[in-house]
């Protein structure tokens, strides 16, 4: 199983899709154009501070709100390695998997880490933070299949025999 380490950005409960990427910027042409505005209603400076490999740790119901797939895409575009939250809203969850953004559910980590902490993630097994272990479960097989194919687009390309 894959293991990596990263710096924590700590966010609260109910981080909605309008916070992740406000409607105002949705008609910009590319996700790269939108990325600088990620999280701007809540923390306008955050997008500029995130560096590739960082990890977002949030409370419950991360990604609630609209179906905008730009939400996981801008997070990925900022170089976030994975999002760990108490729980995820369902459309966001599907969109993230379909775009190959790793999501991990853990209810306890949020209260046990501080922003700037470095944590280690052992995918499918545990998170190590401040000397403690936080167990994580693995995803259902059908989702692993999509992740394994490299996202839904690639899975469909395979279906259409162009890969």
């Amino acid at each position: 199983m894959e293991t990596f380490e990263g710096k924590v950005w700590l966010l609260g409960d109910d981080i909605d899709t309008d916070i992740i990427i406000p409607t105002e910027y949705l008609a910009l042409k590319t996700v790269q154009d939108m990325a600088p505005y990620a999280f701007s209603p809540l923390r306008p400076e955050l997008a500029g501070q995130i560096t590739p490999g960082d990890i977002i740790v949030a409370g419950k119901n991360f990604g609630c709100g609209s179906s905008r797939e730009q939400a996981p895409e801008v997070i990925k575009a900022l170089g976030i390695r994975c999002v760990i939250a108490g729980s995820f809203a369902r459309i966001f969850f599907r969109n993230a998997i379909n775009n190959g953004l790793l999501l991990i559910e853990n209810a306890d980590l949020h209260d046990a880490v501080a922003e700037g902490d470095r944590i280690e993630v052992r995918v499918g097994s545990e998170i190590l933070a401040g000397g403690r272990s936080f167990p994580i479960s693995s995803l259902p097989q059908n989702l692993l299949d999509i992740l394994e194919a490299g996202g839904l687009v690639k899975a469909m390309q395979k279906l259409n025999g162009i890969r």
Partner: protein, 420 residues
């Protein structure tokens, strides 16, 4: 073992007679909806995936509503891409300025009881009002459905919400769903189906049910379903009763949770800044003397004829408070025309309202009454997230059209007249 309503719909759709909560099944899309904001992304992904044709063009509905009228220079690019996509892979159904997608889908008969429908918008859950399983998805999944006609889903568990009795005067479906969301919290129904049963709902118009289904996603729900009945049959133009009979949840269905309410206990409420589950009775807020700068009546939640009529009844012969803006955006072309014909629009105009063309308007926060720091808006739509209608220092309160119209008259948060 008995089945819930969502299990019945999925069994009917898949032919898997044993499908139950927790199962992962592949469903057949009865219809799909794509709106203007996401069509360029859907079109890109569709081609990137290598599809050459749409599985069934007649089942695809493309609706321009978020960017109507265009307010930014690149907005019309979305129409251009949409028109080109329709031209290349059609004939699909295209609506270019007829109203909000979630209003049009049931209103124009694109969604019928028992259907399974996906849309590139979280409020696709609205179609549960006619007993259809409908839910929002991203544009990548939409592209894959356009090619295959299918999508995998996990059959959701169900939270059953029983409401019986008669709602008090001045209390509407909006107050009911806001109260339920406050009780469930914003993630209380995540991945789950909400099933609304009881004589209160039996006596509700399909329009009011639409308000309730529309907001179920604010509790995280995958769908919010009403058992189709004669009202539904009339609304959807059903010709036989087969569907109605097939879509009755079993008495021994298994529910994850059951909530029971007495209709008489509901009162006018508001979702306070900046979470939809931050619910407080209007009577408590009214004591705080909260000045209101703007009122918005519209959206797929509350822009229907009965909503405009309720607002007009409050405003009739009076004028909105000085310096308060009242913006009214009917949910569809046909609602606008019926409201015009019934004299409702004129009552609203006489009271000082700004009546706009049917579209998403202020609810999607791109135009239609954007606000700035320190301003307070009372709105009838479905979300009050930080920054949704302007800067992050705008305070958004969500309410029913009756409460909203009352606030427009007084210029502050006020309990509607006739409420005990």
């Amino acid at each position: 073992m008995g089945a819930t309503l969502i299990e019945k719909i999925i069994r009917r759709n898949t032919g898997i007679g044993t499908a139950k909560a927790g199962d992962i099944v592949t469903v057949n899309a009865s219809r799909v909806m794509i709106h203007d904001i996401f069509i360029p992304f859907v079109a890109d992904k569709f081609e990137e995936m290598g599809f050459k044709k749409i599985w069934d063009p007649d089942k695809v509905v493309l609706i321009y509503d978020h960017l109507v009228p265009a307010s930014q220079i690149d907005d019309t690019r979305h129409f251009k891409v949409g028109d080109a996509f329709a031209e290349k892979y059609g004939p699909i159904h295209v609506h270019r300025s007829d109203g909000i997608c979630h209003q049009l889908m049931p209103e124009l008969g694109y969604v019928k009881p028992g259907d399974v429908v996906f849309g590139t918008d979280s409020h696709t859950v609205t179609y549960g009002c006619v007993g259809a399983f409908s839910t929002g998805i991203g544009y990548t999944e939409m592209a894959s459905i356009l090619g295959t006609g299918k999508l995998w889903i996990r059959v959701p568990e169900t939270i059953r919400v029983n409401v019986n009795g008669q709602l008090p005067d001045g209390v509407t479906a909006k107050d009911v769903i806001l109260t339920i969301i406050g009780d469930l919290r914003a993630d209380g129904a995540t991945y789950q189906s909400l099933e609304f049963i009881g004589d209160t709902f039996d006596h509700m118009s399909v329009d009011s049910r639409m308000t309730i289904s529309n907001m179920t996603v604010e509790a995280g729900a995958k769908c919010g379903l009403f058992k189709p009945d004669l009202r539904t049959a009339l609304y959807s133009g059903l010709e036989d009763d087969e569907v109605l009979e097939a879509l009755i949840p079993d008495d021994d269905a298994v529910y994850a949770r059951v909530l029971n309410y007495r209709a008489e206990d509901f009162e006018p409420v508001m979702a306070c800044p900046s979470q939809v589950d931050n619910i407080h009775p209007v009577r408590e807020l009214a004591e705080k003397d909260i000045a209101v700068d703007q009122v918005f009546i519209g959206s797929c939640t509350n822009g229907r004829l009965e909503d405009l009529e309720a607002a007009a009844a409050v405003l009739y012969g009076q004028h909105v408070a000085p310096f308060v803006k009242l913006i009214v955006t009917p949910a569809s072309r046909s609602i606008y025309r019926r409201a015009a014909d019934a004299g409702i629009l004129d009552v609203l105009m006489e009271a000082g309202a700004i009546v706009t063309h049917p579209s998403c308007g202020l609810c999607c926060g791109r135009t239609g009454g954007i606000l700035t720091d320190g301003e307070v808006v009372v709105a009838t739509n479905n979300r009050n997230f930080l920054g949704r209608m302007g800067t992050s220092k705008v305070q958004i309160y969500l309410s029913s059209p009756i409460t909203a119209a009352t606030c427009a008259l007084t210029g502050k948060i006020t309990v509607p007249e006739g409420v005990d």
